[in-house]
Amino acid sequence: MMIRTTGLTKLYGTTTALDGVDLNVAPGSVYGLVGPNGAGKTTLLGVLSGLRSAGGGSIKVATEDIGVLPDTPHFDAWLTAREVVDLARVLGNHSSDVSRVDELLELSGIGEAADRSVGGFSRGMLQRLGLAATLVGDPDLVLLDEPCSALDPLGRREVLDLIARLRGEATVVFSSHILADVQEVCDTVGILRQGRLIFEGPLQELLVGTAVPHYAVRLRAPLDPVVRELQRLDWVREVTILDPEQIRVTANSLTEAERHLVAALAATGAHVVSLAPEAPSLEDVFLELVA
């Protein structure tokens, strides 16, 4: 494991920020850390990077070569972007070639602003610069706190691509409120709530194993008789009318839905146009878990 924590705790006064967190991050993985505000994501990243002390438990990090990107990076305003990344290069890894500075500025999408003072940078540009400074030393472990929070859609796309490219070359732990981003680039997910890690595992396992099965059914009007019939069935949890020709059927379990739904629709005499399971998004699962 690149990171293994056991029973990790952290208190701020009487407030519990981390409560017995058992985190396991495999080498070369892209690990998404999600949770509502105040769940302890930033504290956990701070403890892992050594910027904050743990209150209890144990931490094992397999490398000392760690790159950290805070959620709102800040640099001396009178330095140029190139100087910031070069300073990070010199401090982080002396063997890294100077050409890596320009390469990362380009990859981060701020190559054209390389010689501008960072004092005039927008928050999005600072985030891109922070990412370049984090990656320039080619760290073994990259801790990213909300790396896309200030980026426009294009910037977000570029940064996600950059993170995805790190898979296998470095281990990335990436906290985000943007669950679609986590779903897109992470292979493993940890969900924090009130300082506790309530789920950790492969993303697919989370999506398939935890989510309530939804089926989107497109059918000819009228919908009401069909909806009433379906709501009477004990394996159906909920039926929602999405539009005049579409309903969503939520079953208690995937197995029951697979076994009974087609027959139940036929029994109502519905004119079914199409029927398909709705793939749960991480957002659906997240909302369900933290609710």
Partner: protein, 248 residues
């Protein structure tokens, strides 16, 4: 780009060197001038009242420089030092540095030494200006006494910057670091009023140059010099310890 180069760039791009050099050299030039013409200056504001002051001597020019340097110069020096040494004032900047160095002292050492070098250079240049002008306007001064006095003044300033480093290790804010440091440095001369205590304190070194150019014995400053050196090293050790203990 290294942390040493970063500090030199900080000094020049933020124009803080101008503030330091400007204040010390200005008082180095103006101090002897006011000492030489104090009688005329007072009479011009006196509305015809004749003001009798002792005939100025060259040492008065140095004394005038030192009194201004010890107040305005010290304020500016502490401000410049606090701005450089409170490196966690913006925590994200602290994260950038702290996660890239093996020890916190790697961050503090260049900041302390570069600021101290700048403050000492500015004070020395101001002292050179005061020596030159005092000599031209009021007569010669003992060079040995002036040199030793200037060195002792530099030692005091190195101590003052170390105090700022220690305070900045405990507080994150530039303003609080500067204010508390000024408070500590102003407290020393007050403590020094107590009999026998003053000559042991760093603040005793502030007026050394004035006394030495008047022929005072150098041995008067031995104890304060040793204490100042010890307190400087102690303050730096505290700066590192406190900065290491801080969580971001």
């Amino acid at each position: 780009m290294s942390l040493w180069k970063l500090e030199w760039i900080r000094l020049f791009r933020t124009k803080r060197w101008i503030a330091l050099l400007g204040v010390y050299v200005f008082f180095g030039l103006v101090g002897p001038l006011t000492a030489r013409y104090i009688s005329e200056i007072l009479e011009s504001f006196g509305g015809g009242v004749q003001v009798v002051v002792p005939e100025p001597v060259a040492a008065d020019g140095i004394a005038s420089y030192v009194s201004n340097a010890a107040q305005i110069g010290l304020l500016v020096s502490v401000g410049v030092a606090a701005a450089a040494l409170a490196f966690d004032a913006k925590p994200q900047m602290g994260v950038f540095l702290r996660t890239r160095v093996a020890r916190t002292s790697d961050i503090i050492a260049p900041r302390y030494l570069v600021v101290t070098a700048a403050v000492v250079a500015a004070f020395t240049l101001g002292s050179v200006a005061a020596l030159y002008e005092s000599t031209v306007l009021m007569g010669s001064l003992p060079f040995g006494g002036w040199l030793l006095g200037t060195l002792l003044g530099c030692l005091y300033l190195a101590f003052a910057v170390a105090v700022v480093a220690a305070v900045a290790g405990k507080t994150q804010s530039v303003l609080i670091a500067a204010t508390v440091s000024i408070g500590v440095l102003l407290l020393l001369p007050i403590v020094g009023i107590a009999p026998l205590v003053g000559e042991w304190l760093p603040s005793h070194l502030v007026g050394a140059i004035d006394s030495l150019v008047r022929g005072g014995p150098a041995s008067d400053y031995l104890r304060a010099s040793l204490v100042t050196m010890a307190l400087t090293l102690g303050s730096l050790a505290l700066a590192v310890r406190w900065a290491e203990q801080r969580e971001l």
